[in-house]
Symmetry: C2
Subunit: 338 residues, 2 copies
């Protein structure tokens, strides 16, 4: 029999919380028979729900961190919030992973302060699947570290490669540095230094890529500082949403176009789904002592369900343990060379 995986779930996080979260938990419990949920949130939300669902336990909290609160201040001021309590369950070994669609900053702060970094990790990083129809592309960091040192990107590369391999089934993932030219002499001082370090220390580093390459099918893992990564990711979302909006307008222009659109609709739905962040659901924070998955603020029940599936798989695959071993091995090699 499969071992159960316990995921602490923030019932209060996200624009559609708690309804979308609870609906997603229902679907996830049905889809993943070895999932157990510890549902963190206000008592009147989590207790009645847990009473009605098997493999779901209520963890009542008295506080909620809002999306627009300053992460570090909110973390200090709200020790009994669903985010902090969820992270504490992971730290205390009462949950195997934590999921929230709430404030990325607050989850990152709570994850780093409560669950803490893996030994040797300079900066945990936010990693995500980039919506690409033709293949899996993973990008890291996408917003956790707005200010980076070049050496952080070596660890981002190692951690994101492990994630791509274990969770996204990408065999021998190739790493590329997001830059503004292909040659190694291109880009900012930061990018040039990061290129040199990646070349020296990451065997699966395959050189630079540019913004237009992210979705072109040539990248497995794209590493970048959190500022650039966040801009690129949100730009991708923005272009997609703008173009699908324009296409909808085209489809609705006349009776004739509406009829033509009906024929093409299944294909367009499939394309739209393939670039929809809901398909993958959540982005992991890599480099902590326990897995934390952060959902999009606008997460739908489908996104919540898929996120919890990802959390279960990351525990089953021992993502944390394997990242830890990989970093230790790398550190030993670097020391041996020095």
């Amino acid at each position: 029999m499969q071992k159960n995986v316990v995921v602490a779930v923030d019932a209060m996080g996200g624009d559609n919380a708690p309804d979308a979260i609870l609906a997603g938990v229902v679907d996830a419990l049905a889809a993943y028979p070895n999932l157990e949920v510890k549902l963190c949130g206000l008592a009147d939300v989590v207790e009645p729900f847990a009473a009605e669902h098997e493999r779901c336990e209520a963890v009542a909290c008295t506080q909620v961190i809002e999306m627009d609160e300053h992460p570090a201040q909110a973390f200090k001021a709200k020790p009994d919030s669903s985010i902090v309590v969820g992270c504490r369950l992971v730290k205390d070994g009462e949950a195997d992973a934590f999921y929230s669609a709430g404030s990325t900053g607050a989850c990152f702060t709570a994850g780093t302060m409560v669950i803490r970094r893996l030994k040797g990790v300079s900066r945990p990083a936010l990693c995500t699947n980039v919506p690409c129809p033709s293949k899996t592309v993973v990008m890291c960091d996408v917003g956790a570290n707005a200010d980076c040192k070049p050496e952080y990107l070596v660890q981002f590369a190692q951690m994101a490669s492990m994630y791509a391999e274990l969770l996204m089934n990408v065999a021998n993932p190739q790493v590329r540095l997001l830059n503004i030219g292909e040659e190694e002499t291109k880009g900012s001082t930061f990018a040039q230094e990061a290129h040199a370090l990646l070349k020296a220390e990451v065997p699966n580093f395959a050189g630079n890529c540019e913004g237009r390459d992210i979705l072109a099918g040539t990248c497995d893992v794209v590493v970048t500082d959190g500022f650039t990564g966040n801009v690129a990711l949100k730009t991708i979302e923005g272009v997609g949403s703008m173009l699908f909006g324009e296409i909808k307008r085209l489809f609705m222009a006349s009776t004739k176009t509406k009829m033509a659109a009906a024929v093409l609709k299944p294909g367009f739905k499939e394309l739209k789904d393939s670039v929809d962040p809901d398909t993958f659901g959540a982005a992991p924070i890599l480099g902590l002592r326990g897995p934390v998955f952060i959902g999009h603020g606008s997460s739908s029940p489908l996104a919540v369900k898929n996120s919890l599936g990802l959390a279960v798989r990351s525990v089953e695959a021992d993502l944390t343990g394997k990242i830890s071993s990989a970093l230790a091995e790398q550190a030993a090699t670097s020391k041996g060379e020095a």
Copy 2:
């Protein structure tokens, strides 16, 4: 009678040079009756062409800077290249503007070294129209300055606002800073410092925008460092090209979809054109003593024609003079305040 505008044109620059450039010059000469072209390039390219076209003079050069050459080295090594010679024509008052679809870096270096900066300009910057169907959006810098200081962005904002107003007919353009959150405390140290300076010194500064806002219809002028701007611009191009590729595949899937696609084709063509860099053609380097326009490496004849139209209008509108006055005024105000 309208005064003639003389544009020095690099016949050798771009992936499709010289054919696409020459075809574009033919169209531009027909479209803009007050355009005179000084066509810079190898003698066997420019001389036969000039002999057959009115208002076109050949300026024979013996050297060509290739796309992948190191800009500063190429500039030094090839003083008789079409890019350097074209810039020299502007510097010597023999041309009013310069256009090239060749190496952006080489044009930037030659522009800065030969034509030189306007008084008071810290860093000239590359400014471009972002392909957006619903409105005009101008972004600056998109790649000239990979390393920026926060204070550069104040001038980028002033120069790009003037460009948007004079050339793109945007009345009272609002400036936004590309960042990873809306609040002024968000983002990298660089972005936070730039935000504070823009707020203090640029009256039409309207706050931060995120990657997803660039095309959402809320921005007129987006300012950013050249690294982030280049990544964002190329990401936009990449997403568009990926999605239009997928849509073409959908259209061609079966006889039924082909028939439906035929009905929708005119609308899709219009949409595709509206996000096509060829529509605007070229990006100006702002902050030089004479206008320099840089085309996409893959510029088509249409892009060349539109670029030369933009060059003519920028001279007629006295873009350079008005940027110079605006910066002098700003400098006087800052001094007065200090």
